[in-house]
């Protein structure tokens, strides 16, 4: 009976994914890249493999020409912790981090030529951790200093994911100014959200490093990283402890969370349900007894190949065809009603005001 009770409280997931997004570029936003890389490091340490992590960094800080310590990204001053490490695998880098690509990753509407490492191949038994950081405002998050994603779009993307059952449970963490506004509009089930600040508050950065010259981390993620450093794959710490991280005295902003869409009680949700990858395991009690004396089917080698003449490279490329191709004619569509009406109005007013005698000069 104890076993059954445990079963119902446990999550029903079989695999874990993480989508970690840093949306700001430029050297002075070093702290956002350091934020994302610290979460990446914790998630890898707790067991999620690179093949299940989609890491999107909008700028390269480790190899930035302004970095006095190249190939490192530090999260503590005095260079205590290099979160860049030796085996970081960035899936979307630099200008590839756009709102469109982010939404494509989430909804799965990706062009067929995208490699496997850039896809979120989650199924209905996947727990997904989504972490976003950057500059944000009331209801939006800025991407690359040129575009933004609104909370409505994000909520719609999550709903698309739910419709296609691309997640079992989703944990959304956001560390930006006014971060709580981003989770206000969620309406799909099984989503838990955490934000570093409420609407109207700014998230502050933690500490500058005089050697590197920029702020290294944001406060909220700094304390979350400290919290996660104490978690190991077998720990039983639950979400309620994560909600207590970074109180107002340390963080200056008030972190918020949202659990009304989540079906389980946060008390029963382990941190490793989202940050780690603890698999369900069953002992194999059955075995097949195979007959050893069976002759196997030989592996069929393709022996018959049509004899063709070898093609020379130049022949394979019909250059003449390509360079003389005319651009495809776009179909002409008659102008729509709005444009027609507008022009009719303008012309009518023009001629009425200035007199009909101008007509014969036009026609």
């Amino acid at each position: 009976f104890q076993d059954q009770a445990e079963q119902f409280l446990r999550s029903g997931h079989t695999n874990n994914w993480a989508v970690l997004v840093c949306t700001s570029r430029f050297w002075f936003n070093y702290r956002h890249v350091a934020n994302t890389l610290s979460v990446y490091r914790s998630v890898k340490r707790l067991g999620i493999p690179d093949s299940h992590i989609v890491l999107m960094l909008a700028d390269d800080m480790a190899c930035n020409p302004r970095n006095p310590k190249p190939a490192t990204v530090f999260s503590h001053k005095n260079m205590e912790l290099n979160v860049y490490g030796d085996d970081v695998e960035v899936d979307y880098r630099s200008y590839e981090v756009t709102v469109e690509n982010f939404l494509r990753v989430l909804t799965g509407r990706i062009p067929p030529s995208t490699p496997r490492s850039k896809r979120l191949l989650s199924d209905d038994r996947s727990n997904i951790l989504i972490y976003m950081t950057g500059h944000g405002g009331n209801g939006f998050l800025k991407f690359q200093d040129s575009e933004e994603i609104t909370n409505v779009e994000l909520a719609d993307a999550f709903e698309q994911m739910w419709q296609k059952r691309r997640y079992n449970e989703l944990l959304f963490i956001i560390d930006t100014c006014q971060g709580a506004s981003m989770y206000e509009r969620f309406y799909s089930p099984n989503i838990m959200a955490l934000a570093s600040s409420q609407v109207g508050e700014d998230s502050l950065s933690h500490q500058p490093d005089l050697g590197i010259g920029v702020h290294l981390m944001d406060r909220y993620t700094f304390y979350v990283l400290e919290f996660l450093e104490e978690i190991h794959p077998a720990s039983q710490t639950n979400m309620n402890d994560l909600f207590q991280v970074c109180p107002k005295s340390l963080c200056v902003s008030t972190p918020g969370h949202r659990t009304d869409l989540f079906q389980r009680d946060p008390q029963n949700v382990l941190i490793t349900d989202f940050f780690g990858s603890v698999r369900k395991v069953e002992i194999t009690t059955e075995t097949l007894s195979l007959d050893r004396d069976v002759a196997g089917s030989e592996s069929k080698l393709p022996e018959e190949e049509l004899a063709t003449e070898p093609l020379k490279y130049a022949e394979q490329l019909p250059v003449a065809q390509i360079i003389h191709q005319k651009p495809k004619q776009k179909d002409w569509h008659p102008p729509g009603g709005f444009i027609l009406g507008l022009w009719a109005l303008i012309i009518m007013v023009f001629f009425k005001t200035y007199g009909i005698k101008h007509m014969k000069h036009v026609f």
Binding site: F8, S51, R125, V281, T287
Partner: protein
């Protein structure tokens, strides 16, 4: 409304006919049952039974000594279409079935059932057999698991592999101690001899691709505990979930395909940690020395015997016994797909499928579950696509997206029709086509709502442009209207 139709034949051996038959043989009958999935949806099942007596050939086959031989002899005389069942009712005193066994389920699509006296008892037994061999309420509910409300199914019921067009199987040999062991495994031969027959049988369900690799210096994530009593190392059951993670980072996956990957790992423990046994929850060592993880794959620990003389030169050459290893891996493959013998009642005797890996009726079991799952997936996908397109009024639907949607709808209708006629194979193929088309339509890159602006955003862009321009136009319009009115009034005034 999905209706699953199973064509069944019940053949009475002379001496086994119950006394209270409603009509003389042969006659047809129909048993219907409703499987309710959630408040709104349910799946209807119909067993179309044809009761008849044996033909001369069947009688001769049933005169064999053991049930196994009888089953082999009856196989060419049976209906071999996918999804159909044949049950031979033998007299209560028949010696074909051993003592205490009431049902013998063969390798193909037939079973030998001991007569139970009255028709009602016999029908109850037949119903049980039919459920084991085709589908049960729980297997259908598990296939439709994402539509069953939470709480009705335990989380473990949803652990079988989802229906997919293909699967990739990777066999990996982990050798953490190459200094002590040189491990030789004839994986190509083993795949040809043992794995290919099973995959050929499963090729009806999906495409399989197999690859293999050897990883050196790959350690498990857990340090095993030394047990003095058995002088061996033990991995306890609750440490097993943490074993997989460090290894998983080193296992590759094919960059080109998007099919789910099943990993089967063979771990040869280090000299210093040999022999290594896996303990189950009660502390007893597991006979197969293997464990598996749903939707991921399985791991088996292969212990190398200590060398006879302690001065034997290292590295020791190890020739892996592939038959034993593949027996475990193939059993794990069956369990990952959901084919297990656990739920069979004790009075049933199941014939071992041998090197084929799975019996014909188990293949049918998979096909029923996958067909129902595919149909449910297609209807959810198309419904949600329709909702998305309704919400964004001005989205442009490309021609090929439209044609995929039409094709998906036509295929799913054909699948439901075929199911209601009892043609399982055709229904499964139609459902696979439907899933392919609907996924292609749903995940088409052009349907990103970000690319289509809602009308209010269009107004927000054009109003600042046209409003200042429109002000003089509207004022002039007002002036014109006033002038025309005055002009109309004046003639009446002058007169």
């Amino acid at each position: 409304q999905v209706q699953l139709v199973v064509p069944m034949a019940v053949v009475f051996v002379p001496g086994s006919v119950p006394g209270d038959l409603p009509r003389p043989l042969p006659f047809r009958d129909v048993h219907e049952m409703e499987i309710s999935v959630n408040l709104r949806a349910s799946v209807a099942s119909r067993y179309e039974v044809f009761y008849r007596s044996t033909t001369g050939q069947e009688e001769a086959a049933l005169a064999a000594a053991t049930a196994r031989e009888a089953d082999a002899a009856l196989h060419p005389l049976q209906d071999t279409t996918l999804g159909s069942l044949t049950m031979y009712v033998v007299p209560e005193t028949s010696s074909l079935l051993p003592q205490g066994i009431n049902v013998y389920v063969g390798k193909h699509r037939s079973a030998l059932v001991r007569a139970g006296g009255s028709l009602a008892a016999l029908q109850a037994r037949l119903r049980e057999v039919a459920q084991v061999m085709s589908f049960t309420a729980s297997s259908i509910a598990a296939a439709l698991s994402d539509r069953v409300p939470d709480g009705q199914l335990s989380p473990d019921a949803r652990r079988y592999l989802k229906s997919s067009l293909g699967y990739e199987i990777t066999f990996s040999l982990l050798n953490p101690d190459p200094k002590s062991h040189t491990v030789d495994w004839d994986i190509e031969g083993a795949v040809n001899r043992y794995v290919k027959p099973v995959l050929d049988k499963l090729s009806l369900v999906a495409n399989f691709s197999v690859d293999s690799q050897i990883l050196y210096y790959a350690v498990l994530g857990v340090t095993p505990r030394y047990d003095k009593e058995s002088s061996s190392f033990l991995l306890s059951a609750h440490s097993l979930p943490h074993v997989i993670n460090p290894v998983e980072a080193r296992l590759g996956s094919s960059a080109a395909s998007l099919y789910p990957v099943l990993n089967f790992l063979l771990y040869v423990p280090e000299r210093s940690h040999s022999p290594l046994y896996i303990q189950d929850k009660d502390g007893a060592p597991v006979s197969t020395n293997a464990f598996h993880s749903p939707r991921w794959g399985g791991i088996m620990v292969y212990n190398v015997e200590a060398p006879v003389s302690p001065q034997a030169s290292l590295p020791l050459h190890v020739d892996v016994d592939m038959a034993r290893v593949m027996g475990v891996f193939l059993a794990q493959l069956r369990l990952l797909f959901g084919l297990s013998w656990e739920e069979v009642p004790p009075e049933f005797l199941l014939e071992s499928p041998g090197n084929e890996g799975l019996a014909d009726w188990e293949l049918d079991h998979l096909l029923w579950a996958h067909t129902v799952e595919n149909i449910a997936t297609v209807s959810t996908t198309l419904t949600s696509l329709a909702q998305l397109l309704d919400k964004i009024g001005n989205i442009v639907i490309k021609d090929d997206v439209a044609s995929e949607v039409y094709r998906a709808v036509a295929s799913v209708q054909s699948a439901v029709t075929k199911l209601s006629l009892g043609h399982l194979h055709a229904a499964f193929r139609a459902s696979k086509e439907a899933v392919t088309s609907s996924e292609r339509a749903f995940f088409d890159p052009s349907l990103l709502h970000l690319l289509y602006f809602p009308d209010d955003q269009k107004f927000a862009i054009y109003i600042p442009l046209f409003l200042p321009m429109a002000v003089p136009i509207l004022l002039s319009l007002a002036k014109i209207v006033r002038e025309t009115r005055q002009h109309k009034k004046e003639p009446t005034k002058m007169d």
